[in-house]
């Protein structure tokens, strides 16, 4: 299957190993991966802060680029950015032409774990990683895209990995995009609940499907001098 990777701006700039790992995993399961270098951002920061004109501008560009692709699917290592693409039709509710184009692109866009499980029907990507780890449900993947069992299935099939459920795994980490810098104190207070749960889980790594949550969680873990690693699912699945 031919796949066009939407790497997301965050991964592109701040966490490239997630992008490289995604390519590695997709190729390992037999996908041909293309990367359109004109891509930038999904428009989420503007959409979530309330700047819809700017969001539409960036969304139109995303649609124009990705609808040219001959790939069977657009895959992204982010539930949040994928959910944003799925929100595009809302941005073009009054614009029938763009609405249709937005719907077509949205229908082709998948988050990595759900693409592996739901589309490719692959549950074991042949990864191995030694240690005890847990999973944090990133909110948009969980509640906008209904991704819950998919990452857990993939993680359970990683050789050597001992998976434990995180207490309140589905509770928000407090990131919330601009929320994390508009109200940093609340954001960190919410985050500390997550950090305490991770501490109690006694794991070597906390895995999630969004670089944004992982920056939030990882940033606090590192500030607190914790040895627990914040790891993206793609990085785990690429491990051999």
């Amino acid at each position: 299957m031919k796949v066009s990777l939407f790497v997301t701006c965050l991964v592109d700039q701040l966490w490239t190993s997630i992008g490289l790992s995604s390519v590695e995993v997709l190729r390992r399961v037999g996908c041909e991966v293309e990367f359109d270098k004109r891509q930038t951002c999904c428009a989420q920061p503007a959409f979530n802060t309330g700047y819809r004109d700017e969001a539409r501008q960036v969304a139109r560009r995303f649609i124009s680029i990705f609808e040219e692709s001959k790939a069977d699917a657009i895959v992204s290592p982010s539930g949040s950015c994928t959910a944003m693409v799925h929100h595009y039709p809302e941005l073009f509710a009054d614009d029938p032409e763009w609405l249709e184009r937005a719907q077509k692109v949205a229908a082709k866009t998948h988050e990595l774990s759900s693409f592996l499980i739901r589309i490719l029907k692959v549950e074991d990507v042949g990864a191995s990683w030694n240690g005890r780890l847990t999973w944090h449900d990133a909110c948009h993947g969980l509640r906008d895209l209904n991704i819950k069992s998919e990452p857990r299935t993939l993680i359970r099939n990683v050789r050597g990995a001992e998976f434990v459920e995180l207490e309140h795994a589905d509770a928000c980490c407090g990131f919330g995009g601009t929320f994390s810098v508009k109200y940093p104190e609340i954001s960190v207070a919410i985050l500390d609940q997550k950090i305490e749960a991770i501490d109690r889980a006694g794991v070597q790594a906390v895995v999630s499907g969004d670089a944004s949550c992982l920056m939030q969680i990882g940033g606090r873990l590192s500030r607190k001098g914790s040895k627990v690693r914040a790891m993206h699912l793609a990085e785990l699945l690429a491990s051999k």
């Binding site: 270098k37 810098v181 109200y183 609340i186 960190v188 919410i190 940033g219």
Partner: protein
């Protein structure tokens, strides 16, 4: 009135975060409510179906609100109720003050709608004594505070604080035994009920088909408020109408489970008109004050209309990670939490409430628990889109304009990435971020560049 303003939400929140007792009380209460709600919902096999059905009924009622309101009014009047229409809070208060002008004592049961109109202040200004009879409301009335939760108004208070308050205000012996504290309140309140000429309540549902008002509670104080005094005044938002009596089946399953995790509220009062033969039940005079106060404005908009479906169960507050940390007062509004952040700017206008829709991480936990499936995150986003272009700071508006340029130009995107790598070495990019968290540095090579290699 809440001394805090929505305009200082950020500061209010910081103060709340520093209040150890408050956070302890919140953590205990919100998680308890949350767990009980979950168990109660899981105990019903058709929970999702009930939610869908409830929302459909609400949608139907709201879409034909004019018709159902008329039907409700004519049926209520046929049973002897007197109905008053109030365009806004001031009008509602003046109607109620006029009706109770000869009253010596008014007993009142818990009602967020009367909090919305600041009725107690209006009554006190008119020289009438009003006593809150819900235990939580009574506590905060004694403390001269405002509710910090829709169904648990004193959720922010610990048992110790209540004990101290009772000793200071009622002169009762010091005890922090909950049963004893409740007994103290009950004894004090029983006398008030006996003396009261007027009882004021809110309304959970108004049934169009029969003109019945339905009120649910656990303490029995509503039963007393609506039956002991000669006159009962019920204050009801116009959105509380449901078409048919049979619709209550759905709502009375969803509401108590969502609110407290109970299968049923201890008391469910169905009040249809005044005391008449042959049953001789109910008050001699029943006045229903129908309050608009901005609701018809919400009704006009297809996206925001759904906010009027709210049952005021408070489940979204308990589920909200922001509310769990800061509680209700920090919002500076009558209605706190996710639903408060949605309805307050719509009812009051965005001038002083523009921060509220941003008081959310958009995690969606509120939508997941809402018994009538209100898409709160979507409404927050909608409100943000109305607020940002008008009320966003100049810096923020400019930043997003520039961001739009950068994100639509591969050249600018590449340049700003390189610039960012250099700048981050010289100045901290985001102080707001780095206060509590380490910042991941920009990679020396972007994925774009790595793809080439």
């Amino acid at each position: 009135m809440n001394p805090l303003s929505s305009e200082t939400f950020g500061e209010n929140a910081k103060a709340a975060l520093a209040d150890v007792q408050l956070r302890g009380a919140l953590k205990y209460a919100t998680s308890l409510f949350g767990e009980r709600r979950k168990e109660a919902a899981e105990g019903l096999s058709n929970w999702e179906g009930l939610r869908t059905q409830a929302r459909a009924i609400k949608d139907e009622a709201l879409l034909h609100l004019d018709r159902y309101l008329e039907e409700f009014v004519s049926n209520a009047e046929a049973c002897g109720a007197q109905v008053h229409w109030a365009r806004d809070a001031a009008e509602a208060n003046s109607i109620i003050c006029r009706l109770s002008k000869d009253a010596r004592t008014i007993v009142k049961s818990k009602s967020m709608t009367t909090e919305e109109t600041h009725l107690n202040h209006a009554l006190e200004a008119a020289g009438v004594q009003v006593v809150e009879t819900d235990l939580g409301e009574y506590i905060i009335q004694l403390a001269e505070e405002t509710p910090s939760h829709i169904i648990a108004p004193a959720i922010h208070k610990t048992r110790r604080q209540v004990a101290d308050l009772f000793t200071a205000e009622l002169g009762t012996p010091a005890t922090d035994d909950i049963a004893q504290l409740t007994r103290i309140a009950r004894t004090t309140l029983r006398d008030r009920f006996a003396a009261a000429d007027v009882g004021i309540s809110g309304v959970n549902f108004g049934v169009a088909e029969t003109g019945t008002i339905v009120i649910v509670e656990n303490e029995g104080n509503i039963r007393l408020t609506t039956s002991v005094p000669k006159m009962h005044i019920a204050v009801m938002g116009i959105e509380k109408v449901v078409p048919r009596f049979a619709d209550l089946d759905v709502f009375l399953k969803l509401l108590p489970r969502s609110a407290t995790g109970q299968r049923s509220s201890t008391y469910q009062s169905f009040i249809t008109g005044v005391k008449r033969q042959p049953t001789a039940e109910g008050p001699e005079e029943l006045h229903i004050v129908l309050l608009d106060n901005g609701r018809s404005r919400l009704l006009a908009h297809p996206v925001t209309r759904q906010s009027l479906a709210c049952l005021r169960c408070g489940a979204c507050l308990n589920a909200c990670p922001v509310y769990q940390q800061i509680g209700g007062h920090a919002y500076g509004s009558v209605y706190p939490g996710p639903i408060g952040a949605v309805i307050t700017p719509q009812l009051m206008g965005i001038e002083k409430t523009a921060q509220l829709p941003y008081a959310s991480s958009l995690c969606g936990a509120c939508r997941e628990v809402c018994p009538v499936k209100i898409d709160i995150p979507r409404l927050l986003l909608h409100l943000r889109s109305e607020i940002a272009p008008r009320k966003g700071s100049t810096t923020e508006r400019l930043a997003f304009k520039m961001w739009g340029r950068v994100m639509t130009s591969p050249m600018l995107y590449k340049l700003s990435s390189i610039a960012g790598r250099i700048v981050q070495r010289v100045i901290p990019i985001s102080k707001a971020w780095t206060k509590g968290r380490d910042l991941r540095p920009i990679e020396s090579k972007s994925f774009h560049e790595l793809w080439n290699d």
